[in-house]
């Protein structure tokens, strides 16, 4: 799977989510944006919503039925939500694991 394709989908999904936020975030959405935690883009509910949207996108556009809500990922301090890039890495890992 092409990492750049996944990254472009993640950024697109993040931009859509940011548009729906009440305080109309004027953030630059790039690979460095922090998804969760202090100064993160999402609160816990927003993160849940984003993960569900991302799963939908992967299913619709790439026919990939993945679960992105792995317990380890959700609880890890240095986990996939520290930046969009690390989240892309996480998805690539899930895709690889599914293929094994």
């Amino acid at each position: 799977m092409d990492r750049e394709k996944i990254k472009s989908m993640v950024l697109e999904c993040l931009r859509e989510a940011a548009l729906e936020m009440d305080d109309a975030r004027d953030l630059e959405i790039d690979g460095q944006v922090k998804l969760f935690g202090r100064d993160g883009l999402f609160d816990s509910l927003g993160l849940v919503s984003f993960l569900v949207d991302m799963e939908d996108k992967l299913a619709d556009e790439l026919d990939l039925d993945l679960s992105l809500s792995d317990e380890k990922a959700l609880s890890a301090h240095s986990g996939p939500f520290r930046s969009a890039d690390s989240f892309v890495d996480y998805i690539m890992g899930v895709i690889r694991a599914e293929g094994e």
């Binding site: 509910l45 919503s49 569900v52 949207d53 799963e55 939908d56 299913a59 619709d60 039925d65």
Partner: protein
């Protein structure tokens, strides 16, 4: 109630079949599932063979339905199995099956349905039984599985409330379905004598509660379990 897209699990028999058929007759689009390969046919009805205890199958079924019809408005989780037996004589395989279909099945369908309903809101109705508050001997495992559904529903309802989704439970008293086919009539009569309203339940009794939970004006009602037959 305008036409809706409604998923009914356990739609091949019993309460699920009755509810699915009634909703079809009212003009709603009903996607029904069951473990059989085929089921009854009707206008507005699509049957999907799906074991609700199979996670991948549930994901596929719910996603396909939501994609095909553009939305999912409501779910009736009617799929369920029962086994009336003394706890000391209940095999582990029976316990596993009851928990897998009743508990895991309900939770998986709720999870996937809520994902599909996230943008537009929706209604989910789960099934319990008066066996929970009546603590009926011989139904320990079955009642425990239904108690799990009630607790799951209370918490799940809170979790999905921000998305405009309600989730409630209807808990029927004994109704003449395949689920209690193996139970002696005398035993059922004894149970009925313990109800507040001393008669067997009917499919229409369940429908009345489902209608209430699905009603447009019931959007402030969630996380509730409604027992039939005057049981509380």
């Amino acid at each position: 109630m305008p036409d809706r897209v409604i998923l009914v699990t356990g739609a091949t028999r019993g309460i699920g079949r009755f509810l699915a058929q009634t909703l079809c007759e009212r003009g709603h689009v009903v996607v029904g599932c069951g473990r059989s390969e085929t089921a009854w046919e009707a206008k507005n009805f699509e049957y999907v063979s799906c074991d609700v205890g199979d996670e991948k199958a549930v994901i596929k079924m719910v996603r396909s339905a939501a994609k095909k019809y553009g939305r999912l408005d409501a779910v009736l989780n009617c799929a369920g199995v029962a086994s009336m037996n003394h706890s000391l004589l209940t095999p582990g395989s029976t316990m596993e099956k009851i928990l897998r279909i009743n508990v895991m099945g309900t939770m998986l369908v709720c999870r996937e349905a809520a994902k599909a309903m996230k943008k537009r809101g929706g209604r989910i109705v789960n099934m319990s039984s008066v066996a929970v508050p009546m603590q009926i001997e011989g139904e320990a495992v079955y009642a425990a599985s239904k108690a799990a559904i009630e607790t799951f529903t209370k918490i799940f309802a809170r979790e999905v409330a921000p998305f405009g989704i309600t989730c409630n439970v209807v808990a029927p008293s004994p109704i003449d379905t395949d689920l209690i086919r193996g139970v002696p009539a005398e035993k059922i009569d004894q149970l009925v004598e313990r109800l507040g309203i001393k008669r067997r339940g009917t499919f229409e009794d369940v429908l009345a509660v489902v209608d209430f939970f699905l009603d447009e004006n019931s959007d402030y009602i969630s996380g509730q379990t409604l027992y039939l037959g005057g049981v509380s």
